[in-house]
Amino acid sequence: MMPEKNPKTYWKSLSQPCGAAPSPPVAGDEFPESHEPARQEVRRRDFLAAAGFALGGVALGGCRRTPVEKAIPYLVQPEAIVPGRAVHYASTCGACSAGCGLLVKNRDGRAIKLEGNDLHPVSRGGVCAVGQASILGLYDNRRLRHPLRGGEPATWDEVDADISPLLDAIRTGGGSVRFLSGPITSPTKRRVIQTFLGRFDDGKHVSYETLSTAAIHQAHERTHGRRALPRYLFEEADVIVGFDADFLGTWIAPVAFTAGWSDRRKVEQAADDFSYHAQFEGRVSVTGTKADRRIRIAPSELGAVVNHLASTLAARAGVSFDSGQQTPLPIDEHVLEEVSAHLWRSRGKSLVVCGSQDVDVQVLCNFINETLGNYGRTLDISQPAATGGDGDGAVQSLMQELASGRVDALFLDNFNPVYDLPNGAAFATAMGKVGLIVSFADRLTETSEQARYVCPDHHYLESWGDVSLGNAVVGFRQPVMRPLFDTRSCLESLTRWSGTTTTAQDLVRQTWGDRVSWDRAIHDGFASVSEEPARATTFRADAVSAVPTPDELSADAFALVLYPKVAMLDGRVASNPWLHEMPDPVTKVVWDNYASLSPAAAQRLGVTDGDLVSVRHSPEGGTATSIELPALVQPGQHDRVVAIALGYGHAQSARFADVGPEWLEKKPTLGPNGLVGMRAAGLLTYQKGTLQLSGASVTVSPTGGKHELASTQDYHNIEVPAALVIPGMDRRRPMIRETTLASYKRDGSLPVLGHGTHHEDLGDLWPDDHKYEGHHWGMVVDLAACTGCSACVVSCQIENNIPVVGRDEVRRKRIMHWLRVDRYYSETDGEVDISHQPVMCQHCDHAPCETVCPVLATVHGEEGLNQQAYNRCVGTRYCANNCPYKTRRFNWFEYAREDKLANMALNPDITVRTRGVMEKCSFCVQRIEEARIAAKRLGRPIADGDVRPACQQSCPAGAIVFGDMNDPKSAVSKLIRSGRHYRMLEETNVKPSVGYLGLVRNRKEDEDHQHHG
């Protein structure tokens, strides 16, 4: 038996960093507001007895037929549709340009859920939170229901009759036409735009993106002669080094990257191929939290580190590299040595990715990958996806053109440059000089308001389309339902104005012709295009040079890092309440952005969470910009970095003024500016022609104001209550268990827990009276694979009709998510480690909630489910109080909204809960029942994999596995037998059905010991 070791200590937030410190009263209690003494003159019982009797009488008197319900059948029944039965259509996600494969669940003619397409070669079954939530965009009551002309409703015929002659006049007059869009990954759309613009003497397409990858495109133009974005194959990489690239969170195609990355992080399948992942970054990204080694560097130090790494590797490879005037290495030499040794050992099987927008740095990264022989193995430039790559400066040149009045017509795709661009206001002014502005926006935004004609495009779920995915794979999009409103595909509008009337479907079909088998491609949602030839490229060594040393930050300045939040990206989804209410994976803050500062920086400035600070950027020779934001103290962040999320302060977020229940003490969800958060786009800068998200030098000063952030980090605490602490025992419990790869390989088990934390022989409070003769459902969550990305949280919310409650209710700990992802901090050698742990109802075999329910609303099922019958619940909340995992949620109000359109996204199989009812994770019992009914019909038992809860279905990392624990061959049973398997709060003997696989980091074992000592 191994000696017992004190386990690593974990804490949830800075308010409880050192074990014994008592948490604030708010954090400790399940229902913080229930302690107020009731002021009652008539005794409560008297009143209830009398009122109940009287009410009963009145209710009986009022008994009558419920309102008449109608059943309206089809007139002509479509063949494939049976009312009440879901149909799934394959399509391609349109929430960002990654193009993940979807299976859209359609019930009775409307799309209600997006699931990942398991067969899809790129996304492989995962869907991120933003993708999941994009279905709500379909049922958004702010969508335009018809075209607009001068702000007034018009018909398509009227709009066409206006626009066509105007365009003819421009054409004959040799005028200039511009089409401004985001990055276009659709070959058909690109073709249609080119055809449309080709009719004019001076027609030009300009694209841009706030989350730009222009530097990567340009670097490859220099080193490979090809302006393109490589395909990154994380599944092939033994060693991954990330420089400021949040590839598991928001960078390029996070779902595909997470799938590849997690392939090599599942110890059970890949103990010998477990990857090593080092991350260099200034803020704390989702990717950084999962790295085996995370190195804090300021943005200004990035160039120097890459320089040093390049010269070290060049020396090892015997390649010449002029490192120029080397700046001193800003980090520990041993760390760089470790990273470069790992890379060198795994040459050809390593991958260096960089999120920087500095072309010189990107060129060096290309050089590193080339030196290591990674091209063609872990990253591939021979068959890249077709993306834009106009460079970030193009939109600025366009703006000058617009301002000069030389442009006759401007066409705007469905996006919002007035919000996105740092000088958006100037763009709006410049737009005023254009004679004809046509927008394809699906709603009125800062930009589309200025357009004379708004020709709303379909939602992507109502459209035909295609997405180039690289590697000769194309994703296809088909309409999954009839368009809700009088909208028209942008493709059709453009062809109509080019004088033809081809449908969008035919346009897409024409693009691919015989190169794909059409029916098959639409059925699968993707196809391989055999005839797209790979193009060999050669590396141009002469393009490589050392990165010039950037200016030092002045002593009191901070380096600004602007970043896309996992749920908000660049603000394109700012009208989506689900995403505003999704706790950020790292900070756990909802409904706000903020200025993240490291604890040391916060101390230096004398600020703490929620203190307002002014972040001011005054470029040389330019006008100063400043924004005021609440501070957030973020352990693990670089001391010289202030990080601010983009995408907030969006005009679209003004609509959330009425989110949440109306009551006397309601506090607003919106900030003082009448919006959610602050717009940070004004702080974006251009440098050497590329849009810079990080690196600008800013000053940060407290303003003395306060803005309380709503953060879920302290909620649902599972520590031992103060009154019950056994002397000598820690209040914290080992929720997260962690080991290093080396010690796990040696021991095949997790480190044994320390003294006083396990009580296996304390005996049972409950008799073993459940037999579980049929199925016994269980779940295992792999903490090594889980990235905390929270796709599961949003997936669960949509599947189970979980309401949005608003910022104030979250602040009152009333967030309704059935599945939360707990984040823990711990420390290794002075560096902060962050761990994520998804926690849902644990479906205990000996569930403490069941024993205390006075009305038997929560009872144990034959198959181990802990069931909640809403119609039986009277809302005593005893169960929540008695739940050791704090997974039960109470409906303090009638949270469901009377938004008829948004309610079309509700899952018709799930009850919409009313006020006063307790709810919680059901293990997606509706999916179990669906599988059971289907299996019954086929006369076979439910097979392993037939039931996949919503969280498991959309997990890009495949970290969640559900199944029958009675079946020894099921995937879940196999994982339960793993040496990493443990159950949370095992010592309470409640026998949860959910287990976890311990976190594994690929570190040297001695580090492990060092820490534990």
């Binding site: 009488g57 009986l60 319900e69 109608k70 007139l75 009850t911 019954k936």
Partner: protein, 222 residues
């Protein structure tokens, strides 16, 4: 502030009001007393006086011919107009009426007219078709809005597909529909009624086959 005395007085008043209401209700509705939510005996008038007695009873058309969703879906489904038209594009009136017209036509030595019953005319109006079953230009078809007879509360999940393929006969829950001129809710569709059946089939099976009818709350409530 209320004193102890005035409090008991107010309680008495409230109790008295309650008692009067309850008594009045009980007396008034003693004959047809149902617990709230129980709609046993509900037989609403339908937009078309469709007769199950004729179709299912006399003509012996299988239930699943029209309600074909019952085997695969949660809902049995109300047949689409197109399913009615499988027969009613030819059969437009009762046999008696057609024969009478034939006789009249023979007497008057003319071609018999096509007879269309008043109820079927409603179907053709909904589909916007003329006597020759051709669409009438300029008329939009309109769905028929049937009144749902068997309603379960929203917090209850029921699936026909879980019951019909296991061999549970339609009339087990819906009664002798083939004798009904207008459909009536026969059973009370209460939870107790559901559970009693689930218990008994676990003992005796359905049609001689053993079944596993769940007694879990979450079999129906989620």
């Amino acid at each position: 502030m209320l004193t102890r005395e005035s409090r008991s007085q107010s309680v008495t008043i409230v109790l008295a009001i309650g008692a009067v209401f309850s008594l009045a209700t009980l007396v008034a509705r003693l004959g047809a007393f149902h617990l709230p939510g129980n709609h046993q005996g509900y037989a609403p008038e339908q937009p078309i006086a469709f007769s199950h007695r004729l179709h299912a009873g006399e003509l012996l058309i299988d239930c699943l011919y029209c309600h074909h969703g019952a085997e695969t879906s949660r809902h049995a489904g109300i047949p689409a107009g197109s399913i009615c038209m499988n027969c009613h594009s030819i059969v437009t009136d009762t046999l008696g009426s057609v024969r009478a017209e034939d006789e009249r036509a023979e007497e008057e030595q003319r071609k018999p007219r096509r007879m269309v019953s008043a109820e079927l005319q409603k179907l053709y109006d909904a589909l916007a078709v003329d006597e020759e079953m051709k669409p009438i230009p300029g008329r939009t078809p309109r769905s028929i809005e049937w009144i749902k007879v068997h309603n379960l509360p929203d917090f209850t999940f029921f699936s026909h597909a879980a019951h019909v393929p296991t061999g549970v006969a339609c009339e087990r829950c819906h009664g002798a529909v083939e004798t009904m001129e207008r459909v009536r809710q026969v059973e009370d569709l209460s939870m107790g009624w559901c559970v009693n059946c689930h218990r008994s089939v676990n003992r005796i099976g359905v049609g001689g086959r053993a079944v596993d009818a769940s007694l879990d709350c979450a079999a129906c409530h989620y």
